[in-house]
């Protein structure tokens, strides 16, 4: 399971986070800065907008990867941030980036206030070699807030594959938000992806037409356990599901603990923390 560094006989093996089973081959992407054009802007929640950026040098990304967005002031000052791609690689020629507007956000604030259809936007990508899903292994996806962006990309890619008659491994998303209004992609998660999604709302009861009611409350073991069990994420051995966990630091910290409490081994969990960066 681990690979001792060559040329060092007699030394104890070191633990390897990305054991060969978990490693993702590089895409070989050429990733220069390019100026795309915004062709669509959608409001997702009161604070989140999706920007569709048409790219002349588009290349397929892996679900979970991200793009950098760079802003340049007239005096040459630059600011850049990375945003996960929400659109699947099966939707070629453009990337959709969902941007949560952060309080005092230097880049997110500008994107929300100043960028509309027809505007140029400088981007570079795709990046990311760890928090990516290749489609060949079952996955339990756990996300909160804007942490749902890369996970929605996985669901969308999987749906596009099966629409094209290609099979991919089973996945299940546990999607958290404070309220349904703040839930990213709420209509899609409770519509097309309802069978593969569990919605967890911390601040309001979630009952509605066609939806079993869940009382308000933070993520709980029972939200995770049945799906972890069904997908084979419990126990070790490296043959079970991968867990992709994405969200704020408080959310991911709590979810890491819960996942391990229900029996998911720590080394099955890939984490991406979205900070105010």
């Amino acid at each position: 399971m681990t690979e001792p560094p060559p040329g060092l006989p007699g030394l104890p093996e070191l633990p390897v986070l990305d054991s060969p089973r978990r490693r993702v081959p590089p895409t070989g992407a050429k990733r220069s800065w390019q100026t795309g054009t915004v062709t669509e802007v959608r409001q997702e929640t009161p604070h989140a907008r999706t920007f569709r950026v048409q790219l002349a040098e588009w290349q397929p990304h892996l679900p979970g990867q991200n793009y950098l967005v760079r802003l340049t002031a007239p005096d040459g000052y630059r600011a850049q941030r990375s945003y996960s791609v929400a659109s699947p690689p099966e939707d070629p020629g453009a990337v959709e980036l969902t941007v949560d507007r952060l309080p005092d956000g230097e880049v997110s604030g500008y994107l929300h206030e100043h960028v509309g259809v027809g505007d140029p936007l400088e981007v570079r990508g795709p990046f990311g070699g760890w928090f990516v899903w290749r489609g060949d292994r079952p996955a339990l996806l756990v996300g909160g807030g804007s942490g749902l962006v890369p996970l929605a990309c996985i669901l969308r890619s999987r749906a596009a594959r099966s629409g094209a008659g290609r099979s991919s491994a089973p996945v299940h998303l546990v999607a958290a938000a404070r309220t349904r209004e703040e839930l990213f992609y709420a209509d899609e998660l409770s519509g097309a992806f309802a069978a593969d999604t569990t919605v967890v709302l911390s601040r309001e009861d979630d009952a509605g037409p066609g939806r079993p009611g869940r009382p308000a409350g933070r993520l709980r073991a029972e939200d995770l356990l049945p799906h972890a069990e069904r997908l084979g994420a419990l126990g070790g051995g490296g043959e079970g599901a991968d867990v992709f966990l994405c969200g704020s630091t408080p959310f991911t910290t709590a979810a890491e603990r819960l996942l391990q409490e229900v029996g998911v081994p720590a080394d099955a969990i890939r984490v991406e923390r979205f900070g105010p960066s």
Partner: protein, 201 residues
């Protein structure tokens, strides 16, 4: 060619301590990790230096505290573009530990590792000569678990993924061996002033 972003002036001042593409995160200290936070305590933590050394040695919590202390005051830079300016850490200089194990002349690189399996590689010259530490205090308080406590590495002149959290050892090598992020898309050295963020930058 880059385009100007109409109406963008940038929110913050241009502090000369900020490398290109970085912004000042102020008093906050974002947490970024790739793996579940391991359960390492002062009682269970240890640090082993092995590989191309004369005397492989393991220190525990009391052992590193018995060494002469050292502090860093200055800036740190995360590849995700935040920098934290004028912060401080204290612990012990890696020079002290490397002096005790006797580094062989064959050693050229080090691989720092954590019990989670996280690794990062550095040229030996980047962790010697007063450039790297093991630290257990941040701004006068014990280093929290989410920031790599009880003990993390600190290599502040490189992007912060080189400053291994929950560090458990340093393996000296006679060659370079890419670490976790270096295998997964990031630059092999990570020098902030040269903006060495991604492989090939």
């Amino acid at each position: 060619m880059s385009v100007f972003s109409e109406g963008f002036s940038g929110r913050r001042g241009r502090d000369p301590r900020l490398p290109p593409g970085q912004y000042d995160v102020g008093d906050s200290f974002p947490v970024l990790t790739a793996e579940a936070t391991p359960n390492v305590t002062q009682e269970t933590w240890s640090f082993r230096v092995d590989g191309e050394v004369e005397s492989p040695t393991t220190w525990d919590w009391a052992g590193v505290h018995a060494l002469p202390g050292s502090a860093y005051e200055g800036d740190i830079h995360c590849v995700t573009t935040w920098s934290k300016l004028g912060t401080s850490f204290s612990g012990v200089s890696l020079d002290v530990l490397l002096d005790q194990v006797g580094v062989r002349s064959s050693a050229t690189h080090v691989l720092a590792w954590a019990s989670s399996g996280y690794t990062t590689d550095l040229p030996l010259a980047d962790v010697t000569g007063g450039k790297a530490w093991l630290v257990w205090e941040h701004e006068g308080r014990p280093l929290s678990t989410e920031h790599g406590g009880p003990v993390r590495m600190l290599v502040p002149h490189l992007y912060f993924w080189k400053s291994t959290k929950w560090v458990a050892g340093l393996r000296l090598l006679d060659h370079d061996e890419p670490g976790f992020w270096e295998r997964n898309g990031y630059h092999e050295r990570g020098e902030p002033w040269a903006e060495q963020r991604y492989a090939g930058d």
